[in-house]
């Protein structure tokens, strides 16, 4: 008995085996006594005649065993043989599934990266986007005056910190050739809110964030590599901006490559100092505002808190603050909310596509099962239980689906490139990649595809009177055998029409995603 064989219910039935066999021995003993032997002699002869009870018990245990691994291996071997025997059939099925599963996994990888995963910052769910709005006009003013930002940050009790930023395109002229860069001018506490530290160097000091203090700039990993050749001694060197008024600032740090905020074009982060002549004006609209919630604070609490804060400011500065309200939304929502329904719609479409692929394969497998009716009948008549035959047919479908899934993964692996190409401005598009979650999802897809494609043909082809089909010598007529096949064709047409209708919306997604996003 190989020890790697999985067993179920191994010993629980042993007492029953014992008493059943003991009964037999006792009856033999009785028989011997009736023939005139002494009790001991009769018993001894009975045990001898009965033979090895232990060996019989082991065989009885064997009957109850389900050799899972052994059967599975055997099924896989047969499935492999079946695939090699009909390469063109298998290739058609595998390619069909590869397209179906691949498209599905590709879109899922986008959904996973864009919608399901939290933002790629530590505890990204705490990040909120704050906006002010005019209560009477209902028109969003959005951007905040520096003074009000500082008030909000100082007076609230639900945020760890609130910060702001705005971006400007600048020319950087410290090199031989001027270079166009995107600079983000940031309010104090910028890195504290993100929970990110520079990869090289340090955050801004309080002095650097005060009017008249030393100049400072953080540069992006990309800018560091392109402009400075990833020079580790870049700290302290100057960057010169020369668009409206020329000024230089010293590099104090390099951000990690994963930090792509406000967008992936941002190269420089420069503090806007407090206490300058213009920062007290409450009418200016400068900052897009981001805050990090304290741990355990809900969105509702934060909204109520900021509403109170703004009410106090309205009392203090009735002229500028009386009509303002505060809106707070999760940063992730404001980043990806616009594409959510489109992405799910796309996911629905590729799922329908997979369903169409599966119905196609069901038809193929049904036709195939028709040819194998004889083989299946022979197997039945040799005593194979129906479950075993169904399992074996399912294993064949599973091996095909698995091969399709592996090819599909290659398709999905190329997905991020495809998305960048087709929908370059899709938020978070550069976070789309192949990882364990996508592989797992693809595997689940292949199991679902196996059941969708394989179960029905397997059950159909193992139904019916087997001695009849064995006795039948002629070949069965395929046409008209299954009204079901007509049903399948109908289902396919239906799905295709659904897909076409959905196609219109998919084009809208591409158009939307390609539209430059205004934040």
């Amino acid at each position: 008995m190989p020890s790697w064989r999985f067993s179920f219910r191994k010993r629980t039935l042993d007492p029953q085996y014992d008493s059943e066999l003991r009964f037999h021995i006792e009856k033999l003993t009785d028989e011997n006594i009736a023939a005139g032997m002494t009790r001991e002699e009769a018993r001894r002869r009975a045990v001898l005649e009965f033979g090895g009870a232990e060996q019989i018990k082991e065989e009885l245990r064997d009957v109850q065993r389900i050799p899972v691994l052994e059967t599975a291996l055997k099924n896989f071997r047969w499935a492999w043989r079946f695939i090699r025997k009909s390469p063109s059939f298998s290739l058609v099925v595998i390619l069909t599934l590869a397209l179906g599963i691949g498209a599905n996994s590709a879109v899922f990888s986008a959904i996973d990266a864009v919608l399901l995963r939290p933002l790629p910052y530590p505890e990204g769910d705490q990040l909120m986007r704050l906006e002010q709005f005019h209560r009477k006009v209902q028109a969003p003013l959005g951007r905040l005056a520096p003074a009000r930002l500082e008030d909000w940050n100082r007076m609230n009790s639900t945020f760890q910190a609130i910060t702001g930023y705005y971006t400007e395109d600048e020319s950087e002229t410290s090199g031989i050739l001027p270079e166009k860069v995107t600079a983000a001018f940031v309010a104090p506490r910028f890195l504290q809110v993100w929970g990110v530290v520079p990869e090289l160097g340090r955050d801004f000091t309080p002095e650097e964030q005060r009017w008249g203090g030393p100049s400072a700039v953080l540069i992006s990993d990309r800018f560091w590599r392109n402009r400075f050749g990833a020079d580790p001694s870049v700290l302290g060197r100057k960057v010169t901006l020369d668009t409206s008024n020329k000024f230089s600032c010293a590099i104090v740090g390099v951000m990690p490559p994963s930090f792509l905020f406000p967008d992936r074009d941002a190269d420089l982060w420069i503090p806007t100092p407090l206490g300058g002549p213009y920062t007290e004006n409450r009418d200016v609209t400068w900052y897009l505002t981001i805050g990090r919630l304290k741990r355990g604070v809900s969105l509702q609490q934060a909204r109520a808190d900021l509403a109170t804060v703004q009410a106090q400011l309205a009392n203090a500065y009735p002229k500028t603050d009386a009509d303002l309200g505060v809106s707070i939304e999760p940063l992730k929502e404001t980043t990806v909310g616009g594409v959510r329904s489109s992405l799910w719609l796309l996911f629905g479409s590729v799922s329908v596509l997979l369903l169409i692929a599966c119905t196609n394969i069901v038809t193929l497998l049904l036709a195939r099962a028709q040819q194998r009716q004889h083989e299946i009948s022979v197997r039945f008549s040799l005593g194979a239980p129906r479950v075993a035959v169904v399992l074996q047919l399912l294993t064949e479908a599973f091996v095909l689906a698995l091969a399709g899934a592996v090819l599909g993964l290659i398709v999905a692996g190329a997905a991020s490139k495809v998305f960048e190409f087709l929908a370059g401005n899709l938020p978070r598009v550069d976070e789309i990649r192949l990882d364990a979650r996508i592989v797992l999802y693809t595997l689940i897809c292949s199991v679902v595809a196996t059941l969708l494609c394989g179960l029905f043909p397997a059950i159909c082809s193992t139904r019916g009177n087997l001695s009849n089909s064995l006795a039948k010598t002629g070949r069965g007529q395929v046409a008209g055998r299954y009204p079901l096949q007509w049903l399948l064709v109908g289902v396919q047409v239906m799905l295709a029409v659904t897909l076409l209708a959905g196609g219109k919306s998919r084009r809208r997604l591409c158009w939307m995603a390609n539209k430059p996003q205004t934040s």
Partner: protein, 111 residues
């Protein structure tokens, strides 16, 4: 000369057991006795073949088994034919008769 199980066609023992059990609930010892008596001592089935076969048939659902008191007052496991087993027996008998007929006619023509 008695025929031992190894000489029996695979599957034939199953059919014989199903046939014996049609006569009513019976325990393993009884089955081996009946097989011997009815075949006039030609078929001697070893316990090592009989009990695994019984359990296999039970697991397939062709036999139903329950514990009960035997004629001498001891607990014994009684087997009886299930509806599924009845169908199976019919099928196997039909196949067997067909095969036996075919073999017999070949033996006769070749004489």
């Amino acid at each position: 000369m008695p025929i031992e199980k190894s000489d029996l066609l695979q599957g034939t023992l199953d059919m014989l057991i199903l046939k014996i059990v049609t006569l009513g609930p019976i325990h393993g010892y009884g089955i081996s006795q009946r097989l011997r008596q009815i075949s006039k001592e030609v078929l001697l089935v070893q316990q090592g073949s009989l009990y695994p076969a019984l359990h296999r048939l039970e697991k397939r659902g062709w036999l139903a088994a329950e514990w009960g008191e035997s004629e001498n007052g001891r607990q014994a496991k009684f087997y009886k034919l299930s509806a599924k087993g009845k169908q199976q027996l019919k099928k196997e008998e039909w196949n067997w008769n067909r095969l036996a007929g075919a073999v017999a006619s070949i033996l006769q023509t070749a004489q």
